[in-house]
């Protein structure tokens, strides 16, 4: 039986049709199996009916606080049949006689058995003391945490959203899981977070994890609001990720969204208002300090006078800016002027509930987050609906739809250019925001200073508005083919429309004045369709328990980009709304990229008596990015666990150690995230000029490698989980050794080939590390509780093989034998003193010039004098949270620490050179002078005074970034239930948060957790970072 499922017509619609064909066949065949299943269901019903109902038991199930617990399952022990509690926690159940035992269960609570009674029963369920009975989502299924033998960190949805400024999921994950490094690299709304799960494994391929949202593999995590997330499970070892095959090498982040609960109804309404302000200031010069700096620069040549002191220099604004004695009239603190009190608010409204066979959740949320830089913001509007329905005894469907819009204004674009954030640092403090005549000051108003607009004008005149509109729809059908076998089929579509609109007016010097204003619009449309079909089987044979999954998936990705722009606008009214108004048209751009994946996967888990646990998974992935024999890649993994605490010999220890599990996994996972079309040689279509006109031109662009295949990450993980004193202490630890081989590596070629290189599977990087998680309930009394969470991670990377190449990064280099993110540069030894004049002369330097170590002892300063200067990634990082509850009041404290991470402070480099012509750090006044020769800063001078070097990334600008941050303090008051009942509320709480409350660090920039470039290879490179705010929030949550 062979038929052509995909006849390959071009275009999406026809391809979709073929999918449908595939589904129908699956359904048709499945229905037969379902028919069989429903027959057996009917038989069970008749058995149930044969009971003669003798007694009717009534009762209420309440939670630990004595409040009704709707949706709890009540059934007769060892028999089928049962019911669930209603919205008031009440149930009614017919039992054969009063000898029956009722079993009451509810997810997250310990089950309880009670004798049937003819009087009203009140059952109180207590929350699981052991989180081990929690359920964790694993690839294509779920697993009890107790039986988990892979390395998965789970984060609850509430924890994800506990910091009020969180606007995306990645931001919310910061500090939540060991081995998951989330750097919140910017202070702007959204935080520009970068996530690394167990280090950077790739040089030319992506280092981002794979995201799975409700089973939609390869979903965009930014497309959904953290509000609607029920839990996030982060897969770290190969045992967990291998079932995601060619996309799992950087870890997998599995997001499960919220659903309604059966037989409940709830309205939840939460509101937050927050106020952000500059957390700390960078020690820049004030007006007098900046003038002193210029004075000294001029005095480098004795008798030379700075413009403000030179009576013969009558520059245009002199009298407006200076008193006759040269003292400044204005004292502007640009860190104040360019920032604002950022007022943000977030609202979320959720309706959730369900009936016996139906659940629904609908959420609507709106966030409007202001940034602390003027005019920066991020807004998000999101709507979400999730429906679950047991349509038939043999069929459950789930349908979810998420639609939202996001928009932000990026004031930090053009990182190395004269942008607003840079000018906040560099603008001269003796210049006003505006002169009395209403014009904005420019730096060049002081002669000799680098000319640029002031930050306030830039923030008001340059707009870079990026945004997206996204829709994620997912439809899942689960067929209960038999008691033990399910067939799951899902279809999902993700549609995205991203845009970037840029406008800078015709009066913005240095940015767009030359062009007479610039406006650009870029639109990117993307559509991703995927289909997953799998069978899952679960059965117990005596002490043997077997769970298996087998399935297949199809994934189709298309994205297209269109860009247009214009320049030379006679008026700024047009903004980016009317490109036609510009008289110079920029070359338009467009492109379309497609790729497809087709996969088959299986996983088998077996355990004996819940004691010896084994698992194996396998995935075959076919990718359109590769060709021929490499079209498909194969990714196996094995894991095993031993619950030592279940052994007889362990029994004496059980009162202390309730749970002790050893586990290990080994497997192979792939990474295929290389740019598009690396297997095909491409020509580049460009333009040559002839006769002052653009003419079409074509050049060689890239050399395709038809033999290219996946990167393989081979990972060993060894770990244990322990639980002490009935779950009061839970300890888990993992050691991992992950070696990425066959890197999709851009192999450099001799230029004589005509190409800089080509992608080849070559090279290897190792990441090794240790992760420890410790959760404790330190004090548990009825009124006072204190619990703590602690996680600790360390990772060490090493480049094992990259073809002996050396790759230069910002201020660093990557080479064999060394770690990634290593800085590399000159060693500054201070400044040549007058006593060293003779020695300095050998290097062509004079006293007052910066002195660099001549490491290769060849008597000249050259590239051979550079050396390793430290690493940007922390030696270790740790997060420590505490929740202290006294009656209805709870206090939450979140501490974040990182140790040993170095930064390249390029901001300070640019601003403290000897010939600085912008504002500077206060340290520059400690620069060499004949009376202060012992300094790290070269003698101040004008740019065309005798030569002086100041090397990018020299040791003077590599700073220690170790820090301790009080990341979040939250104080919450929950009103008593008894009070609330009167006003028909089930819950009401109010709270106050302080985010980024305190930062302890020696770092001289705003914040040591930063980078201005790609975080995987250039973490810690600080070029005029957007400062991080301290945010105080008030919140109110109510449930009806």
């Amino acid at each position: 039986m062979k038929f052509k499922l995909y006849s390959r017509p071009y275009g999406l619609i026809s391809r979709g049709k073929h999918y449908c064909g595939g589904l129908l066949i699956c359904l048709a065949v499945s229905t037969n199996a379902i028919a069989g299943a429903s027959v057996s269901a009917a038989n069970e019903t008749s058995v149930k009916n044969s009971y003669r109902a003798a007694v009717t038991v009534k009762g209420t199930v309440v939670d630990e606080q004595g409040l009704p617990l709707p949706g709890a399952t009540v059934r007769i022990k060892d028999q089928t049949g049962g019911t669930v509690t209603d919205v008031n926690g009440r149930f009614t159940l017919d039992v054969p006689d009063l000898n029956a035992t009722l079993l009451i269960t509810f997810t997250g609570y310990d089950p309880k058995e009670v004798k049937a009674s003819d009087t009203e029963i009140k059952v109180q369920l207590l929350p699981n003391s052991k989180s081990l009975s929690e359920v964790v989502v694993v690839g294509y299924g779920t697993s009890k945490k107790a039986n988990l033998i892979t390395s998965i960190s789970s984060v609850k949805g509430d924890a994800l959203a506990e910091r009020p400024t969180t606007i995306n999921i990645t931001q919310g994950l910061a500090g939540k899981a060991a081995g998951v490094n989330v750097m919140t690299n910017s202070g702007k709304p959204g935080g520009n977070p970068a996530i690394k799960i167990r280090g950077t494994g790739s040089i030319n391929s992506s280092n981002n994890p794979l995201y799975v949202i409700d089973g939609v593999v390869g979903a965009d995590p930014n497309a959904i609001d953290p509000n609607i997330v029920a839990s996030v499970d982060i897969y770290k070892d190969a045992g967990a990720t291998a079932i995601y095959g060619s996309r799992g090498a950087n870890g997998v982040v599995v997001i499960t969204t919220k659903t309604g609960k059966k037989n409940t109804s709830d309205i939840a309404f939460s509101n937050t208002i927050s106020f952000g302000s500059l957390q700390r200031k960078v020690p820049l010069l004030d007006a007098e300090g900046a003038l002193e700096m210029f004075k000294r620069e001029y005095e480098y040549v004795p008798g030379r006078l700075a413009p403000h002191l030179d009576p013969t220099n009558n520059f245009a604004r002199k009298d407006e800016l200076f008193n006759p004695d040269g003292t400044p009239k204005y004292h502007t603190d640009w860190q104040d002027e360019a920032t604002q009190l950022a007022v943000s608010h977030q609202h979320s409204l959720t309706f959730s509930g369900g009936k016996d066979d139906f659940t629904i959740l609908a959420n609507f949320s709106y966030k409007n987050n202001e940034g602390i830089m003027l005019n920066s913001y991020a807004k998000q509007l999101n709507g979400y609906i999730n429906i679950g329905w047991d349509v038939k005894p043999w069929l459950n469907i789930k349908a979810s739809l998420n639609a939202g819009g996001y928009q932000s204004n990026n004031v930090d674009i053009n990182t190395l250019g004269l942008n607003a954030v840079r000018e906040m640092y560099e603008f001269l403090p003796f210049l006003p925001v505006k002169y009395a005549d209403g014009t904005y000051s420019r730096k060049g108003d002081y002669p000799g200073a680098e000319d640029s607009e002031n930050p306030v004008k830039l923030l008001n005149s340059v707009k870079d508005v990026t945004g997206r509109m996204t829709t994620l729809g997912n439809f899942v059908g689960t067929f209960h083919l038999s008691k033990n076998l399910n067939f799951v089929t899902s279809f999902s579509g993700q549609l995205g429309s991203n845009y970037e609109n840029y406008f800078s007016g015709n009066d913005v010097f240095g940015v767009s004045q030359q062009q007479g204003g610039v406006a650009q619009r870029t639109n990117i449309l993307s559509s991703v369709w995927s289909n997953e079909d799998y069978f899952s089987y679960d059965n117990t044979f005596g002490k043997h328990h077997l769970n298996a999954v087998i399935g297949a998936s199809w994934y189709d990705y298309v994205t297209s980009m269109t860009r247009a722009g214009a320049e030379n606008f006679f008026d700024n009214t047009f903004g980016y709304y009317n490109l036609g108004a510009g008289s110079v048209i920029q070359t338009p751009g467009s492109s379309q990229i497609e790729n497809q994946l087709n996969s088959f996967y299986t996983r088998v888990n077996y355990d004996f008596d819940g004691k010896y646990l084994f698992g194996a998974s396998f995935r075959a992935d076919g990718s359109s990015k590769f060709r021929g024999g490499n079209l498909y890649g194969y990714f196996p993994a094995f894991n095993a666990g031993w619950r030592v605490s279940k052994e007889k010999f362990f029994e004496p220890l059980l009162p202390v150690i309730n749970e002790f599990k050893l586990r290990g996994s080994f497997g192979l996972v792939g990474n295929q995230e290389v740019g598009n079309y690396p297997t095909i040689s491409l020509y580049n279509s460009t333009q040559s000029i002839f006769n002052q006109q653009k003419t079409s031109a074509v050049t060689l662009a890239s050399f395709g490698n038809p033999d290219l295949k996946w990167e393989r990450a081979q990972q060993l993980d060894l770990g244990f989980d322990m639980s002490f004193f009935n779950g009061r202490i839970e300890l888990g630890a993992d050691y991992y050794n992950k070696v990425t081989k066959d890197l999709i590596y851009f192999v450099q070629q001799p230029a004589t080939t005509g190409y800089s290189g080509a992608y080849k599977n070559l090279g290897s990087i190792r990441n090794r590390g240790l992760e420890i998680t410790l959760n404790t309930q330190n004090i548990v009394t009825s009124d006072f509780k204190w619990s703590s969470g602690f996680n600790f991670s360390m990772n060490r990377s090493k480049v094992l093989d990259i073809n002996h190449d050396i790759i230069y990064t910002w201020g660093g280099r990557i080479m064999e034998g060394g770690p990634l993110n290593e800085y590399f540069g000159y060693v500054r030894q201070g400044v040549w003193t007058q006593a060293q004049a003779a020695e300095a002369a050998k290097f062509d330097r004079k006293p007052g010039d910066i002195r660099y170590a001549d490491l290769n002892n060849n008597g000249v300063k050259d590239a051979g004098d550079r050396t390793d200067l430290g690493n940007a990634m922390p030696k270790w990082e740790a997060n420590f949270t505490n929740t202290i509850t006294y009656k209805n009041l709870s206090l939450y404290l979140d501490l974040q620490g990182m140790y040993g991470n170095k930064l390249l402070n390029l901001t300070r480099f640019i601003m403290t050179g000897p010939t600085i012509n912008v504002n500077s750090y206060q340290e520059v006044l400690g620069a060499y002078t004949p009376t202060n020769q012992n300094s790290q800063n070269g003698q101040l001078r004008l740019p065309n005074d005798s030569f002086s070097d100041n090397e990018v990334g020299d040791s003077h600008y590599i700073e220690d970034g170790s820090f301790l941050r009080v990341r979040n303090i939250a104080l919450t008051y929950r009103f008593k239930k008894s009070m609330l009942e009167k006003i028909k509320l089930t819950n009401l709480s109010v709270g106050v948060n302080v985010e980024n409350a305190f930062l302890f660090t020696k770092y001289k920039g705003y914040d040591p957790e930063t980078t201005s470039f790609d975080a995987s290879l250039n973490q810690g490179v600080d070029v005029y970072q957007y400062p991080k705010p301290r945010t105080i929030s008030l919140n109110l949550t109510a449930n009806f």
């Binding site: 995909y6 040559s688 190449d805 070097d949």
Partner: protein, 496 residues
């Protein structure tokens, strides 16, 4: 259970027929499979081969930093008003070149990348039948000329370099040996003589390769072969003279009357401009106008802040003889300029700056779209005179040589009488003054092994001469650049 297996089977079977689902679709992208099928495609590929001419100007640039300036820094007659890093300083101060110096890499890749484009064009177009043979030969002539130009750039800078004339078909065995210098010159001559035989017009106003450009480049190649390092002597001086004479006798080119005409856009690719790098304001702008502005910046243009790349050494500026029009204000140099937007305010410059590339349009638009001259008729005239002076033993009275020399000299000194005999040294000095800061001087110094001792107004041996801005005298080791370090690492043969 049997029934359950059926869907499983279907899924698996569906998988086996999924090859087409996984086919790569490079939408809108050009690949070798769909190229060289039409005249337009060939035209576009040939146009692409010109882009390398501008690469030394445009690769790895910073604020007033570009590798191309190194060709002037190394002469020692050029200062850099804006301080720079050690890479530029190695040229400016002549402290010896570090193999990792980025300029070395820039010129290397700026030559070999376009050479590969030429190789690809020559291989594919030679066998093409989609265009008539005459049209095909003209396309090929452009590619041969450009390949010769790029190899000429390479061999003069680095000496022995790999000689690769066929396109790369796989990335195995990509390590090549360095070829003897003579082989490279023979290939250059061969390419140029092949190009010469095609039917290209004498001049091309649009800026494409012309017969005049081919013959002129050949003349430059011959005179270089006559001198160092091949030292082929009079036979090649004669060839250079003959070829230059062909250009002169062709009658298609002439000197402009005024130096300002060199900068006039309506004169591009005609008159004195035999071959130029083609620019426009937006797509491929020229860097020269803005980078040569005074530093610290002075408000003499809308965009004065990317300034300070080059200025003449005062001693060189002073070496021009009294009355030389080339040092008259706003011909080749300037010492003052009107303030931007305020013609009545004159701003004095602290020292002379280069005015050769000033673009009046760029001053107000902020964009420099002026062409850059690669081969000027003045160069060919002086080359003609120099070649003949060599052939004749250091002094000549040849009518063609005299006429050629006098045209250039009398433009600079309009009232001077025509010379009746010229010495080699006088021609060489004239070349320094006339071709200053056009990235030609270093190649003259290399092939003649002579320098212009500006302090004493005489031509001297290059080795042992300390130029005005250098820290020390020239040594033989300074004459060729080392092969870039990264290239030696990728191809260890290059270290041999």
């Amino acid at each position: 259970m049997k029934k359950i297996l059926i869907p499983v089977l279907i899924l698996l079977i569906a998988g086996t027929s999924c090859k087409k689902f996984l086919e790569e679709k490079p939408n809108g992208l050009l690949t070798p499979d769909n190229y060289y099928n039409s005249a337009d495609q060939i035209r576009a590929a040939v146009n692409g081969a010109y882009l390398g001419l501008n690469s030394p100007f445009a690769t790895g640039i910073g604020v007033a930093v570009s590798s191309v300036f190194s060709l002037e820094y190394i002469t020692g007659y050029t200062q850099r008003p804006r301080p720079s890093g050690y890479e530029d300083n190695q040229f400016i101060q002549l402290t010896g070149l570090d193999q990792a110096n980025g300029t070395l890499q820039t010129f290397w890749t700026s030559s070999y990348y376009p050479i590969e484009n030429c190789n690809s064009i020559i291989a594919n177009v030679s066998k093409s039948e989609v265009v008539a043979p005459a049209v095909r030969d003209n396309f090929l002539a452009e590619a041969y000329f450009l390949r010769a130009y790029y190899y000429f750039q390479l061999v003069r800078l680095y000496g022995r370099v790999p000689l690769k004339t066929t396109p790369t078909t796989n990335l195995e065995n990509t390590q090549l040996e360095r070829a003897p210098i003579e082989d490279i010159y023979n290939q250059i001559v061969s390419d140029l003589t092949t190009a010469e035989k095609a039917g290209l017009p004498w001049a091309d106003k649009t800026g494409h390769v012309s017969l005049g450009a081919i013959k002129s480049l050949l003349a430059k190649v011959y005179i270089t072969m006559a001198g160092y390092p091949l030292n082929k002597g009079n036979e090649y001086y004669q060839k250079a003279y003959d070829k230059a004479k062909e250009v002169i006798d062709g009658g298609q080119f002439s000197l402009f009357t005024n130096y300002a005409d060199l900068r006039n856009p309506s004169n591009y690719n005609s008159g004195e401009h035999i071959f130029m790098i083609q620019h426009d304001e937006n797509t491929i702008p020229n860097i020269m106008h803005f980078t040569l502005m005074p530093y610290p910046e002075l408000p003499i243009s809308i965009q004065p802040s990317y300034s300070g790349a080059m200025a003449p050494a005062q001693a060189f500026y002073d070496s021009y003889q009294t009355g030389d029009q080339r040092v008259k204000e706003q011909n080749f140099y300037f010492t003052e300029h009107a303030k931007y937007g305020d013609a009545s305010t004159i701003i004095k410059l602290p020292m002379p700056y280069i005015y050769k590339y000033w673009n009046d349009q760029a001053e107000i638009s902020g964009r420099d779209g002026s062409n850059f001259p690669l081969i000027r008729y003045a160069d060919i005239l002086l080359l003609c005179a120099e070649a003949k002076a060599n052939v004749d033993g250091g002094i000549t009275a040849d009518a063609t040589a005299l006429s050629a020399y006098n045209k250039v000299h009398q433009r600079a000194f309009p009232s001077a009488a025509a010379e009746t005999s010229i010495t080699l040294d006088n021609v060489l000095k004239e070349r320094y003054w006339e071709l200053a800061y056009e990235f030609q001087t270093w190649f003259d110094m290399q092939r003649t092994r002579k320098a212009f001792d500006v302090a004493n107004n005489k031509i001297v041996d290059l080795i042992g001469y300390k130029a005005p801005l250098h820290n020390r005298e020239f040594r033989e080791a300074d004459l060729l650049w080392p092969i870039p370090l990264a290239e030696v690492q990728k191809d260890p043969n290059l270290g041999k």
